[in-house]
Symmetry: C2
Subunit: 482 residues, 2 copies
């Protein structure tokens, strides 16, 4: 194991994190708020550690899959550990474990909070809290492009076969170029949403915060009542659309830019993603209109927003959906296990895997009717190998295993079934709010320290596609090649 | 499609069902109860239809996979349609849809009931209700041995590789002999439990009823409070043990009979099955002792009984487990998705599949660490093909898809989340009772006709291993070869 190289890269990551703390430092300086000092100290500590790590002399540059796994997992952990400093040092979050939870929740773009009253926090802290979403979102795009395919995991290999976007060798032969294209889209969409929210009457500060939360599919807000506090249909619709855009494969924006509309329209993951959103919005609109709102536009608006928010794993709310019927809540719960598209900032299982699994089930049905037929699953014209299908299947199974055992452990908190299961689903899927104990009007503050750490671990697991983190926990990982 | 042959076989099945109605007819005759007439009419109708079908002249005897699927599915439906007659004609269940639900629940060995007061029913009706469990249990053993392997489904091909029991060609080359061996075990265990329950002070009638419910892993009782009504530790323990035995691969009894203890001990499905039971009983014993019973023996007894009852998909209860903590209830809910072993009368996903899925996840972890390694999943010394693994994966996925969509549809009844999800889990897994709306002190009587029919369909789906039934619903099935 090339430890030196691992820590060197971690050093660079910490330097980026320190860089990210400068905007909130400036904001608190301009507003002459007390959190300025905490940012200064945090930056100092982070830069110091970053430099020490980055200066490690390396003997060999090459890294293998193993080192890639270690860098990704430790990268997120270190970012969260240091990213928690401003929360803790400013006294905004008095317990370091809580600050760490909030920081993990930020960088994994989850948006689960332990803060009961966000509105009293200083502006620098609020900015940093949401900026971690934006950094984390960008981070996951790199990982999806550069690290996961190295290990044949992450659903990206499927996506590669599916969409001949900038990912394949034709357009951008090197990973760096691909990453640049994704970043370009990410930044352009960020600017677009920021401007559109300004038009809606939001302050520049709140526009930025909610843009960060949307693009990273995170969900941290400036208001206790989340987006609902603005009570503004324009803002609701704009954020809905940008959440859906952030849950879309970013390489498709490159295709659009290149005028390849045909490829975009033919993309089967996109079709399924929009199809699930459409049907869910329709079902919930009808159901909530009958049972609650008795107003078609209100029903549609809240339904569109909540469906977009949950499927993309953002977690913003405009309404206390606990008041909805079991039917509508059930659809939301189901969407928690769908997630965004491959190559997006959305978390959870992801649409491409759901698509592969649907095709696999179809294949098995065909095989029962024609036992001797050889049937292969295809994405577009490309057949998907049985190995890839088994990888996707085992991802799904492992996701369920962690969800089930996680829920049982969390239920030891003495909370109800919905609270326990949705807390795990909402952290593992990087969503944020769940139901009952962790519903839209609640926070994660009442959990024990043990549960907070476990849920932080689930956020990390989910964000890094399970296997990445779990491989590190196996004895085999450490056995040879140390 | 060889329709003639299908209906001929259905005719034989109906004649068997008619034969099965003779014991309850005799019981009601001896006890001079009014339900005698209803049995006489039911037998007449069933025999008539059976004869008409069985007398169909056939041109070709050969049946293919397609016809096998049709026979199995239609067989269970016809048995249930005619098996419902005594309930309906005797007036015990005034609605035919309800009677059909009860009959499907019996033959699929589910044990979900729509009868609110069982204790007022005449003895013949009670006997027939439970006897359908016993017949259904025997039926599913034939299907597992004779029909499912023909279609490469049902997990039996895995089980075949795993356990060189009487299934492989060595001992009993022909399916008939295998079936005989399974039947032999089934009948011997039936007699053993019957006698042991008599020793516990149960009447011969109630001993028979509870033996039928145990062997078929059904769960219909003579008492509203189920096995808890007897308030007898001896009976509780005896039934627990026999439930566990009924959820065990029946071919292992043949191995024991032949003195092949080594093969039994080495059987990895058995180890996992007993392991899950052991850990679950331990966890629930500790948890319920702390939170509720404050008595180790009571805690152990109820925990052992309830764990055995749910994992084997029987559904008997000795205690209103709704009073347990979310933790203990969570474990029970999880066990609803485990089920019995392959080649047993238990339903749900089944231990052999869970084992294969665990091994598949392990394989993927190894592959991430060693991307170029070729790793195969093995049962004992036999490698399992990727095709089989994909079949098992897609079964698991399809099970989840039906569970999720089923729950959402059932939630339209306006019931809570736990009620809706557990009703689907308990019918699809052939268990019987669930939580809240369908908890141990409730019945399925309050569902609408639509939901009752849908839940009946889920019982059938679960019992016949999903694909068997769903294949029949695809257009492809009917397209060619009609």
């Amino acid at each position: 194991m090339n430890y030196k190289m691992i820590f060197k890269v971690l050093g660079y990551i910490l330097l980026i994190i320190a860089l990210g703390m400068i905007p909130p430092l400036l904001i608190s300086a301009i507003n002459k708020q007390t959190d300025m000092i905490s940012f200064a100290i945090s930056i100092l500590l982070t830069v110091l550690t970053g430099f020490v790590f980055a200066k490690i002399p390396i003997t060999k540059k090459k890294i293998k899959a193993k080192e890639g796994l270690a860098i990704v997992t430790l990268g997120w952990i270190f970012a969260s550990l240091y990213g928690a400093l401003p929360f803790y040092l400013s006294g905004s979050i008095p317990s370091y474990v809580d600050a760490f939870f909030e920081s993990v929740s930020g960088f994994t773009t989850t948006g689960a909070t332990i803060i009961n009253d966000i509105e009293v926090l200083p502006m620098g802290i609020l900015f940093w809290r949401s900026f971690t979403h934006w950094i984390g979102g960008m981070g996951i795009l790199v990982v999806a492009v550069a690290i996961l395919p190295m290990m044949g995991t992450g659903g990206f290999h499927v996506f590669k076969a599916e969409s001949p976007g900038p990912i394949t060798d034709k357009i951008a032969p090197r990973i760096k170029d691909t990453a640049k294209i994704l970043y370009g889209s990410y930044i352009i969409i960020t600017i677009a949403e920021f401007i559109l929210l300004l038009f809606g009457g939001m302050s520049p500060f709140e526009s930025a915060i909610h843009t960060f939360g949307t693009l990273g599919t995170g969900g941290f807000s400036t208001r206790n009542a989340s987006v609902g506090a603005f009570n503004n249909s324009y803002i609701t619709i704009v954020i809905s659309i940008f959440m859906i855009m952030s849950g879309t494969n970013f390489s498709l924006y490159y295709d659009i830019y290149k005028g390849k509309w045909k490829e975009v329209i033919k993309n089967s993951e996109l079709k399924l993603y929009l199809g699930i959103i459409g049907i869910s919005v329709l079902a919930i609109t009808i159901n909530t209109n009958m049972s609650l709102y008795h107003n078609w536009f209100e029903s549609f608006k809240h339904s569109l927003f909540q469906v977009s928010s949950i499927i993309t794993t953002t977690g913003y709310t405009t309404f206390d959906y606990e008041q909805w019927s079991t039917f509508s809540k059930g659809i939301l719960f189901m969407l928690m296990f769908v997630g965004g598209s491959a190559g997006s900032t959305g978390g959870s299982i992801k649409v491409i895997r759901i698509l592969a699994l649907i095709k696999l089930i179809k294949r098995e049905l065909t095989k029962i009717l024609h036992p001797r037929a050889i049937v292969s699953v295809k994405f577009g014209d490309q057949p998907v190998s049985e190995d890839t299908l088994l990888n996707i299947s085992s991802f799904f199974m492992l996701y369920m295993v962690i969800f089930i055992f996680g829920s049982i452990i969390i239920s030891l908190e003495g909370i109800g079934f919905m609270g326990a299961t949705s807390a795990v689903a909402a952290t593992l899927g990087n969503i944020g709010p769940g139901f009952e104990f962790v519903g839209p009007t609640h926070t994660y503050s009442d959990f024990s320290i043990f549960s907070k750490l476990l849920l932080s671990f689930f956020m990390l697991l989910g964000r890094l596609e399970l296997f990445t983190v779990i491989a590190l926990l196996t004895p085999k990982f450490w056995r040879n090649g140390l």
